[in-house]
């Protein structure tokens, strides 16, 4: 055991398996609520780990390995699977690997088991979904399976919370050395030619890939397994990191030499492993009778040429409807709570700079993040239900033709859908895609999807500048405009994907191989956990960035202080208070004075000067310097626009998009010559700008973390912002020419 020298270190148990085997559900059940999320060493893919108590009450660390069909990687997540099972790339070598197996698809699941056994790590096979055997007409012989595999085999039911005791006991026995669970490879290269290939490459497997604990392994089987892995995984197009150049070269040479001699190494190895399985599978499972599965019948409807797409649109319609109607009460609750918090904390502090900072930078900054949480939680809840029930795999199929036409595959649809909630978790969701080019292209268009941060901006502008009445008596103008903005952003994202795939990201298509797993009831704890983990990536990333930005913005809006204005405020306030006016008139005069002085202070502040500086660039879009301040603030995060405009127009920093004062201030705002600043055309131009511009630091930070290259966030920011400027220019100037000014 690798950790036996360090007695205090907890043993490490990795839970691996094919996708859709209930692996994560089992992980959740075993660890209960005691799980943490960390990152894999070196890269930012989440590594879920938790603690498990064994029968003897000692605890071990459990790691959830990303689901994979095989250890030859096709996506980033699958690359991680081999790293965590074999202990490569900085991951620790697990003391036990539990391979979760879906018994209804035993042959394919055993393929992964064989690969794990080749790596010579102690292995336990956990048989899951045994409750489905009966309905499929299958009969399973566990003892034969255990005897042939040479490792402990236990039945578990992740869904019904059963069989955990035998599993934990088996883990304990393996850790104590009472069961070896390292029977060595079940299949070995059979032909002399393949044996020579493996021997040549195993000599080149770096020492770092062979931990001390494996030194005494029978026949150096781990080096052989890694040599086979290199033969199968390395090619001219792989995106593997950390493969020594020597090994890479040798693997390529061996493979092309074999091909020249008419041998197909991939087919030899894969058929060899399946040959072992096929020779025994009839003893492991018996088909008692034929049964057409429920899933297949349901797919007759879900994938029906006439019903499939309408059903999908209906599902999406329900999702978006509930997003707006269900999230609202929660948002109001959060806003109310924060308002109370701000004023309560504010009342404990003496009036002045500190109170202003706490109320308007800290509480408002955190608040501007929190108000998005309900919508983001809801959208991720729906995405989780779609994934866990198996429907998402069907959506990938339904959307593939459309996405293919745009230079992406059906797989890109899921991250883009998450983009309606927030671009940050959507960008993290691109990891399930197979090729770096597809991941990049998807990341470059996700921020064009209308995320929840644009909603308050649209709400403010539509509410203030467009009539609440219905067009021709039945079409609600405001509602239609909101839908139009969503359609506009979706279309733009799709067009951008098309253009980018034809220019910067020209590449042949990656073939689609999509499993359609059986439908099942979502496992609610797992769905809720995924919902929370994804939303948390929004909270962490957006939370820190937006908080820092609101502090900076507060500073820009507050400093430098003008002594002259401060003095005026003091003397004139005193003058009004000391006057003989009635109380109503006094407070009216005071608020008029406050508004006038605040506007003057704003002009004097750094933000005011910035607004003036950018005004020439914004004038052709129909924006004045005050909107400029809002836009400067919005480059940190879009929703900051609303609260900034609240300050700019003296409606108070607590302003939100529903605020009547802010709306009426916007309507009243005029230029020096009396023209209104905001016309419906200006509003449209402003919304177009918000739909297209990359005004989100957290998104840029997320793209950087995923690509480790400054070029991509810089490119993203530039192309979106240029696009926004040009589109707003066309809308505003075109509208003026047509006489809509």
């Amino acid at each position: 055991m690798s950790n036996s020298a360090v007695t205090t270190a907890k043993a490490l148990v990795a839970i691996a398996g094919n996708p859709n085997t209930g692996k994560t559900t089992l992980f959740n059940r075993l660890t209960g609520t005691h799980h943490k999320v960390g990152n894999y060493p070196g890269i930012t893919v989440e590594r879920h780990h938790g603690e498990l108590a064994l029968p003897s009450s000692r605890t071990v660390e459990l790691v959830d390995v990303p689901g994979s069909y095989s250890l030859s990687a096709r996506s980033r997540e699958e690359e991680l699977a081999i790293q965590s099972i074999a202990g490569l790339g900085g991951s620790p070598v697990p003391d036990v690997v539990v391979v979760v197996v879906d018994v209804t698809q035993l042959a394919r699941n055993l393929y992964l088991v064989l690969q794990v056994l080749e790596l010579d790590v102690p292995t336990i096979v956990a048989l899951n979904m045994c409750d489905l055997l009966e309905s499929r007409g299958l009969e399973l012989d566990d003892a034969a399976l255990a005897a042939e595999l040479g490792v402990p085999v236990v039945r578990v039911s992740a869904l019904h919370d059963a069989g955990f005791e035998p599993l934990t006991r088996a883990i304990e026995q393996v850790l104590d050395g009472r069961t070896s669970a390292r029977p060595g490879p079940r299949w070995r290269p059979g032909t002399p030619a393949l044996q020579a290939d493996v021997a040549a490459l195993s000599a080149l497997v770096p020492a770092a890939w062979r931990p001390a604990s494996q030194a005494g392994a029978p026949g150096g089987s781990r080096a052989e397994a890694l040599a086979l892995w290199a033969l199968l995984s390395i090619d001219e197009h792989d995106e593997l990191d950390d493969v020594p150049a020597e090994l890479r070269r040798a693997a390529l040479e061996r493979r092309s030499a074999a091909a020249a001699g008419g041998r197909q190494i991939d087919a030899e190895v894969i058929s060899g492993r399946y040959g072992w399985i096929d020779a025994r599978i009839a003893r492991f499972v018996r088909q008692k009778r034929d049964a057409t599965s429920f899933s297949e019948r349901l797919d007759g409807v879900v994938l029906n040429p006439w019903l499939g797409f309408p059903l999908f649109l209906l599902a999406m319609g329900i999702v978006f409807q509930s997003l707006f109607s269900w999230a609202d009460p929660l948002i109001q609750l959060i806003e109310g709570g924060l308002g109370w918090l701000g004023s309560t904390v504010g009342s404990w502090l003496p009036a002045g700079l500190v109170q202003d900072f706490v109320e308007n930078a800290l509480v408002a900054g955190v608040g501007s993040v929190l108000v998005f949480l309900p919508q983001i939680l809801l959208l991720f809840l729906f995405i989780g239900i779609m994934e866990d029930s198996g429907y998402m795999a069907r959506v990938v199929c339904l959307m593939d033709r459309l996405m293919r036409a745009l230079g992406l595959g059906g797989r890109a649809f899921v991250p883009m859908l998450s983009g309606y909630a927030c671009a940050v978790p959507a960008i993290l969701a691109t990891r399930t895609m197979e090729r770096q080019r597809d991941r990049l292209l998807t990341m470059m268009v996700i921020p064009l999807m209308s995320c929840s941060a644009r909603l308050p901006v649209y709400g403010l502008i539509i509410g203030a500048l467009f009539p609440a009445a219905a067009l021709w008596g039945f079409l609600p103008v405001q509602g239609l405009l909101m839908i139009a903005m969503y359609l506009f952003s979706t279309l733009t994202a799709l067009i951008a994907a098309f253009v980018l795939s034809k220019t910067l990201f020209r590449a042949p298509r990656v073939p689609l191989i999509q499993e359609l797993p059986p439908y099942r009831m979502p496992h609610w704890p797992s769905v809720l956990r995924m919902m929370w983990l994804r939303s948390r990536s929004f909270l962490e990333s957006a939370g820190t960035v937006i908080l820092v930005c609101s502090i900076v913005l507060w500073g820009l809006l507050t400093f430098p202080k003008s002594d002259e204005l401060a003095q005026r405020r003091a003397t004139e306030t005193a003058a009004i208070e000391g006057s003989s006016l009635a109380d109503d008139a006094k407070s009216e005069a005071l608020s008029a004075l406050d508004a006038e002085l605040s506007a003057a202070e704003l002009r004097h502040s750094l933000a005011g000067r910035l607004g003036h500086a950018v005004e020439p660039a914004l004038e052709p879009l129909g924006f004045d310097w005050k909107i400029g301040i809002g836009l400067v603030g919005a480059f940190a995060a879009r929703e900051v626009f609303v609260s900034t405009m609240g300050v700019v127009y003296g409606a108070g920093r607590e302003a939100d998009e529903q605020s009547l004062t802010l709306r009426s201030q916007i309507k009243k705002e005029t230029y020096a010559d009396g023209r209104p600043v905001y016309t419906p055309l200006v509003g449209l131009s402003l919304m177009i700008f918000f739909a297209l511009a990359c005004q989100c630091m957290s998104t840029l930070a997320a793209v950087y973390r995923e690509t480790k290259n400054w070029r991509w966030p810089v490119f993203l920011f530039t192309y979106m912002t240029v696009l926004a400027w040009v589109a707003s220019f066309v809308v505003y100037q075109g509208g003026m020419l047509l006489g809509f000014g």
């Binding site: 069909y69 095989s70 030859s72 096709r74 209804t104 698809q105 035993l106 042959a107 394919r108 393929y111 199968l232 090619d235 197009h237 792989d238 991939d266 087919a267 894969i270 058929s271 399946y274 899933s295 297949e296 797919d299 007759g300 994938l303 040429p305 499939g308 797409f309 199929c397 339904l398 959307m399 593939d400 033709r401 293919r404 059906g410 073939p511 689609l512 191989i513 999509q514 499993e515 359609l516 797993p517």
Partner: protein
């Protein structure tokens, strides 16, 4: 008319009807695609059932070794069968 042939008749995926079973004899296509299909159990000699054609997405759904896998219609041409 009777025809005799020593070689089994080779049929690409698009010639199979929905619901038809056939024996896979060859997997073509680029390497990582071919490798993954083989790893999922699409090996020469395996019995495969064409479950349905998914016309909305222009895909083909196969059942192989108990699992359901869908491929694009054009890419499925890399699979050749005999019945």
């Amino acid at each position: 008319m009777l025809r005799f042939s020593l070689k089994p008749m080779v049929r690409p995926a698009h010639e199979l009807r929905a619901g038809e079973r056939a024996t896979l004899i060859e997997v073509g296509g680029e390497r990582s695609f071919r490798r993954r299909l083989m790893e999922l159990g699409f090996l020469p000699g395996t019995d495969v059932r064409l479950v349905r054609r998914i016309r909305v997405g222009d895909l083909v759904e196969f059942e192989v070794r108990g699992s359901h896998i869908s491929l694009r219609g054009t890419e499925a041409q890399a699979l050749r069968f005999t019945t």
